[in-house]
Symmetry: D2
Subunit: 225 residues, 4 copies
């Protein structure tokens, strides 16, 4: 199969380019693995863009969300990468998720024929690093949100590294880039994401959301949602 | 395509059969939809079984987990359904998830050739009802756990109903079974689960976890995980 | 001040007595610190009791929840300790939380004069160990649930230890009992819990929930909740 | 007792002043109740300020976090209010929490004599509104973060309103401001917050974190944290 896939890794570090980011090291590894499998990969830091708060695609003057959204819509594979702060997903990743919320209510983000959200047939994964506990919780938050928007979540599409309890060195500083479990899991993530992206390209999801809504009305009191 | 799929809905209500369960009403709806698509569906209440605490498949005398595990391994589609208590996933669903943890360390639950967990190529979804807020949080918990075990999570494979703030009538009592959004989403869930189950049956995931682990060792300090 | 306080540590390990429990080592440390401050401390494993699923205090034949509930009602300080499985709070801790849900609807668990739940003026903390990430998420779950039931949550009343990413040795096996951050935090937890327990004994919360409900009705449509 | 307390409600809506905010209606109710109890109350929208991403108190040119931090440090009671998006806490509340993270590592945010974080002896609560499920999860996230920073969490210091499943009218639009449970709980929140704020003003927490750290070192391998 000739692969012409594209992946976008959104490194939701709080640090603008070119500051060094521990999370970036893990993103680089994943990108190299994607490239090995023939997938053109872009790493981008949302913090480099002016992302205004809001749940519409266009939030007015100065808002640069559209630039990121365009890239999301252009690729088959999206990976959200984030540091952990206070044991939870960082605010930049949260902002990205929040902006994607427009999918639920903007007509241009759905297929008029099937009602499918425009990210249907795309796949998503998660990368998380922190000097302290919180990775599974952050990953759960990312993957669930992406599933809700219409991305497919293949098995085992996450990798992480955290230090033991309390403050301490971060991923690269602590040699986490040499940690076997993390190295195995980011590779599995990449392989599973690429496989599913190809599968869905050849066999797109046929679900007709509009027709299903009509069916649902028959057993419901409301006549519109 | 001739479908010979099987689905298992684990209704993790706290109430043993034959007590009435609000969550069961939503499970019945999903089961009927699965059957319409030619999928043989079983609804089962884990609370009817003696599930001892532990993270191994066999926890000794009286433990009946194997009966549920056998059914999980026998189907292509698994749906975890649960009520909400104290704004979170119920303890029975939690117990089921905990018992599946054996997947990570029991050899018999992995394919010796690829290292894939035995639930690879199966798909999972979630149904949640409660008289009070907590559904998204519970669903997030379920879907993420299942993804971690090796299930694929297609887009939009969850449906829920909750009341407005505070105590009040539950799903069926409040007429939630006539709520359009819930009816639409459970149907979408069923359609997407069935499509992916068929897709994975014809095109199983080729990822070789053992080979990937060998690759990972080259960039790691540990030589075994 | 003469302290006549009592603390109860519920070690929600999945392993019945006398199996060795990593979480127990951390519980023992906290117990020793409580005793140093003059607080009589009991460590108890809920898994040693038959705790039937349900949200009432009495779930019928064989149910032993009342034995634990009696001890909770008898002390001023309750600590929930739990291992992490699949990146989240264990099912035994979840079961304990679920059984406490009876507080919301059983008259005998509220003060008839003020409507306060009977655990008002008690304080709660959390201890978590795991070989892998998930502590903050589990702690969040515990502390929030306890706050909802009516316990007071003083600052910094949690301590934890987890290993770096993936499978590995557990708390005691890895020497986590010699980890400074964990040792500092469990001691802070104990000191803050004891201080608040004494404070609330001398200055019990005066809030009259029944009177507040009457006030609330004046700005509400429903006339009962 | 003569009350000279101050409360700060951070309405973490995504909408800048003077756009109408459903969450604001609930904040106004809480503010009126605080005032009734003699507490001077300010409602402020963090979205009106330029809060740069980061975990230090000063993130460089244009950053206005200090203006909010100053107000937090000036009051005894802090309430975080937030809408729900995608079933979870909004990104503005997340940003506020993330900026407070500086408490863990900036000397000026700790008492040099006791090592206590400067928010010790302050109390925190949470208000959440959404047209769809996610309140308990968002509240859990807020309260736990605040507890970690050093705030005390009295019992039942949260109130919320959400619609039934799926899209629909928001709090005020749906008449949620007339919902008894929400009205009762915000009042209980206010009463409990005020009581604890007064209690801690008269009886500040004596815990000496520096001394405890020295004690902890005796049973630890590391000699600094």
């Amino acid at each position: 199969m000739i692969t012409l896939m594209k992946a976008l890794i959104l490194n939701c570090t709080l640090k603008p380019t070119p500051e060094s980011s521990n999370t970036d090291i893990l993103c680089q590894k994943a990108a190299a693995e994607f490239e090995k499998l023939g997938v053109t990969t872009t790493i981008l830091r949302p913090v480099d863009y002016n992302l205004l708060p809001g749940v519409a695609s266009h939030m007015g003057e100065g808002d640069e969300w559209q630039k990121i959204l365009d890239q999301i819509l252009d690729v088959e594979i999206v990976v959200i990468a984030s540091p952990i702060w206070v044991g939870q997903l960082g605010s930049v990743a949260k902002r990205v998720i929040e902006r994607l919320n427009a999918i639920f209510h903007e007509k241009e983000l759905s297929d008029p024929k099937t009602g499918q959200f425009l990210v249907y047939n795309k796949v998503a994964g998660a990368l998380v690093t922190g000097n302290e506990d919180g990775a599974h919780y952050a990953i759960m938050n990312i993957l669930w949100s992406m599933e809700e928007f219409g991305f497919t979540i293949p098995p085992n599409v996450n990798a992480y590294w955290v230090g033991v309890a309390g403050p301490g060195p971060s991923y690269a500083e602590a040699g986490g880039d040499r940690h076997l479990y993390t190295n195995k899991t980011y590779k599995v993530m990449v392989h599973n994401l690429v496989y599913f992206a190809e599968l869905l390209k050849e066999h797109p999801i046929p679900t007709d959301m509009l027709k299903i809504e009509e069916e649902a009305k028959k057993e419901s009191d409301e006549k519109s949602s």
